[in-house]
Amino acid sequence: MIELTGSLLILTGAVFLFSAGLGLVRMPDAFTRIQAGTKATTLGNILIVVGLAFYHPEWAPKLALVIVFVLMTNPVSSHALSRAAHRIRTPMTPTTVTDALADDQKTGGTGGTA
């Protein structure tokens, strides 16, 4: 029963990871692809790691540490990638509505205070 629960969690995680991969292929531009890659891989990884904890309860503390590191590093990498992509003017999909960041850079980057 415990192993079945673990297996189901790992399977669900794998479905999310597959969706992330499919999102990378189907999304129209770099930024929307980063969005698909960030969110689905985070939950997918968490589910797989929790599933592993059902198989090996003695690994649980270390697996919790893995989840914490994934949660902290995944957004940072997506942030760095998207910022770099915007800096080198990677084209955005034609349906894009607004780009406040480009407007801000045009006016001299006075967007922030303090």
Partner: protein, 178 residues
């Protein structure tokens, strides 16, 4: 060096206020969990290794200061964690709906949002959180302004959408980080 040497106070007090102890404790807990043992050698080695690391980061900036270790702060941190988990699951289901749609009809855009949070680590936590919530991704952070890439700007309109994303987390994070 006399006992009344004023330099001792001025070199130690800033480090304490910059969160040296708190950072050291966090690093030490990570070390202990990674080793999964309470052998005395491992404990002493961990304390000896994590102290210089914590010292280096605490003395090179004040990003670690201002975390409130009070019961109220802890409660808000837990509430933030719960809100975050719910939003993470919602984000994934929303993303799956886009990915498996027969035709991906989205209208993305980058919008500007101001945050009430003042501490650097609070802003970092907010930016990381927004990256994992439905259809949003922080692209740049200038002072108190966040530039957020929204996957689908239609529907509610940019202002209402950003309010819905930022405000729930801000409410809890400002009690934890100030």
């Amino acid at each position: 060096m006399s006992d009344a040497d004023p330099n001792r106070e001025t070199t130690l007090a800033p480090l304490r206020s910059r969160g040296l102890i708190g950072l050291w404790a966090v690093l030490f807990v990570v070390w202990m969990v990674a080793n999964s043992t309470v052998a005395i050698v491992v404990v002493l080695l961990g304390a000896a290794i994590t102290l210089p690391i914590a010292w280096t980061f605490a003395s090179s900036g004040n990003a670690w200061s201002g975390i409130r270790r009070t019961p109220g702060g802890l409660l808000h941190f837990l509430l933030y964690g719960a809100t975050f988990l719910v939003e993470l699951v919602k984000a994934n289901i929303a993303m799956m709906r886009y990915v498996y749609a027969p035709r991906i009809a989205i209208r993305p855009g980058i919008v500007k949002v101001r945050t009430r949070l003042t501490s650097p680590i609070g802003r970092l936590a907010l930016a990381n959180t927004i990256a994992l919530t439905p259809g949003s991704l922080v692209m740049d952070l200038k002072g108190d302004t966040l530039f957020i890439h929204l996957l689908d700007i239609d529907g509610i309109g940019a202002d209402a959408m950003t309010e819905a994303i930022v405000t729930p987390f801000e409410r809890h994070l400002e009690h934890v980080f100030g």
